[in-house]
Subunit: 375 residues, 2 copies
Amino acid sequence: MTATRSVGIVTAQRARFTEPLLLRSGGVLPAYELVYETYGTLNASGSNAVLVCHALSGSHHVAGVYADQPKSTGWWDNLVGPGKPLDTNKFFVVGVNNLGGCFGSTGPMSHNPATDRPWGADFPFVTVEDWVDSHARLADQLGIQSWAAVLGGSLGGMQALAWTLRYPERVRHGMVIAAAPTLSTENIAFNEVARQAILTDPEFHGGNYYAHGVVPARGLRLARMLGHITYLSDDAMAEKFGRKLRHGEHKYHFDVEYEIESYLRYQGDKFAGFFDANTYLLTTKALDYFDPALDFEGDLCASLARAKAKFFLASFSTDWRFAPARSREIVYALLHNKREVSYVEIDSSAGHDSFLLDNPHYHAAMRAYFQNIEV
Amino acid sequence: MTATRSVGIVTAQRARFTEPLLLRSGGVLPAYELVYETYGTLNASGSNAVLVCHALSGSHHVAGVYADQPKSTGWWDNLVGPGKPLDTNKFFVVGVNNLGGCFGSTGPMSHNPATDRPWGADFPFVTVEDWVDSHARLADQLGIQSWAAVLGGSLGGMQALAWTLRYPERVRHGMVIAAAPTLSTENIAFNEVARQAILTDPEFHGGNYYAHGVVPARGLRLARMLGHITYLSDDAMAEKFGRKLRHGEHKYHFDVEYEIESYLRYQGDKFAGFFDANTYLLTTKALDYFDPALDFEGDLCASLARAKAKFFLASFSTDWRFAPARSREIVYALLHNKREVSYVEIDSSAGHDSFLLDNPHYHAAMRAYFQNIEV
C-alpha cells in the first residue's frame, strides 16, 4: 500500500466574476467572488479535475493546512492527498466556498456595492443549482471543460447530483455520499427550529446585526446544538457519553450534569464564534428547496434521465438524517434510467458524520472507485 | 359492546399538606398543595382506585370537561369514562397535577411564603420519586390504602414504575406505557437544547421573569417545536405534511414555505401562551434524573426486585423517543424477577404521541387488562 501524506501547506485563491448570475429565486448577483483551493496538478488535457462540494458548515478548505496554523487541517484531509483515496498524485482537486457562505466567497457578510453596507438580509436566496452554476464558471476560468468527478457528502452530495443534471456533459462521475434526493419532512422540521432560534434571537436585528456590532450567538448556538444531535446517531452518543455525570452524582442545577450537555454546549459555543448566522439561514433554506423532481411532477426517475455520468453512492447504517433508504431512492432512479451505479451501504455507528470519518470500508470503496476513473 | 360516554362536567379539587416533604435533591417543601380530579366512585373497601400520572405537558385534568369550556376536554378522555377502557363504572380514577407544575399544584408560579414572591428559580428540583411520595400522601387523604392500578404514558409511565418500587405494597398493577427505564443520551441531548433555549432567552431573567412582567416565550416556543418533532415519527410527519408548500411554490423568504413549518410554529406559539417555563425546565430535569437502577450499580433487574405489582407495558412501533426496545428492557428485568408481565408492541405510525390516541389494538389491550383487574 502506498504511503499517504498530507498535501501540506495550502493557500486559498480568489476568482472574480463580473457577469451577473441569475438565481433560481429570481434574484441576480451582479458580480461575485469565489474563494477556492486546489491540490495536485491539472494535466495537459484538463481531464483529471475533481470538484469537492461542501456541506452546511464546510468550506473550500478541504485538505492541507494553512501556514503557521497547525490546527487548520482541511475538513476532508483524511480523503484527499498524495496516496489517499482521492489521490492528488493522480487528480487535480478543487474545493470552493459556496456563494452565500462566510469563508470568503461573496455572501451576507460581504460588501454590497448597491448599499455600501454588508449584504446582510438583502443577500439573495441561493439554491444548490445556483451554486452549481457558479462552480461551472469557476471551472471555465480554471480551464476545466469536464470534471473527472464531482463529489460531496450530505448537502455536498446534493450538489454533486445537481451537477450531473445541470451540466451532464461536464461530469464523468457523480459521487453522492450520505445524501438524499430531498429533505424529509422531519429534516425540514429540524431546519425550521434552527432557523427560528436565529430569527427570534433579539440580536438578529432582521439579519442586519453587523451594523449593530453584535451577532445572534444564542440562536446560532442552539441551531448548532440541535444540528449536532442529528449528525450523530443515538448509538454513537450512547457509546461516547452514555449517562456519564460530570460530577459523579446529580447536582440539581442547570449547569452541566451529564457529559453530553457539556459536549453540545461546547460545540454550540465554538460554532457561534466563527460561523455567520445569515449563511446558516440561507444554507438550511437551500437544503429545504433542493428537489430535482419538483419540475417533473415528483418523478425522480424522470428527473434523473438527464444525467450522463457514472455514479458512486455511499450511505451509512446509523445515519438517520439521510438514511440509507434515501440514497437507495437515488440508486433505483438511476438504475431505472440504465445508468452505471456503484452503491455501498457502510456499517458505521457514527451516524451522518460517518461521511467525514476514515471508516476503512468506506475509504476502501472510495479508493477503488477513484482508481478506476480514467483520466 | 357497551356504549361509551364522557365523564361529563368535572371540577378540580385541592388538597393541602402541611407536613414538610423531604426531596431527593436535599431540598424541603415546607407545605404544598396538590390539585386533582376524580372520576367514578370509590368503593367501600377502597379497592377500585386508579391513579393516572401525567407526562411533561399534561395535568390533573385527565377526563371530562369544565363547565362552560366546551374545548377543555381532558388529555386522556378517550381512555377514561363510563364504558371506556378505563371504565369509571368500575374504577375510581384520580388525576393529579405534579409538584412543580403550572396547573394548580404548588410550583414555581406559586407564592413562596419565605420570600413573599413567586417561587421562580428558588423552587426546589423535584424528581419522579418526589412526585410519587407526594401522591402517596394524597392517597392517604383520599383513604386509598392500595391502588388497583397506577398508570401513565411517557414520564407518567416512569411514575407508575417508580410507584411499584417505592410503595410496593400499595400498587397492585403497574401500567407503564410508552416509557423507558432511563432517558437515552439522545433524549437528554434534546432536553438540553430545549433548556438552553429557555435559559438563554433574555426574558428568562434567571427564572424570576414573573417580577418583570414577561415570560421567556421565545425559548419556550423553541423547546416545544423541538419537542413536537420527537413526539411524532418521521412517517407521521411525512404522511401529514410531506413537503407540502403553503403557497404552491417556493417564495424564497423566511415566512412559512412548508406546511410543517406552520404546524410547528403554531404548536410552539400555543404552548408558550399557557405553559410555565420554570415548570418545563424542572420537568425535563426530572426526566433526565429518572434512573431506578442508579442505586443498584446500573443493574435494572436488581432495582426492580422490590416491585410486587403485576405489570402491563405497551410501546409503539414508530416511537423513537422511547422506542419499543426501551420498554423491553423493563419487561425483561421484570421477567427476570419472575413478575407477571403483559406486554404489547402496537403498530402505529404516530410515534411517541401514539399513547394518547385511541388506536384500536392499544385500547383493546388496555380494556382487556383493566377488565381482568379484581376490585
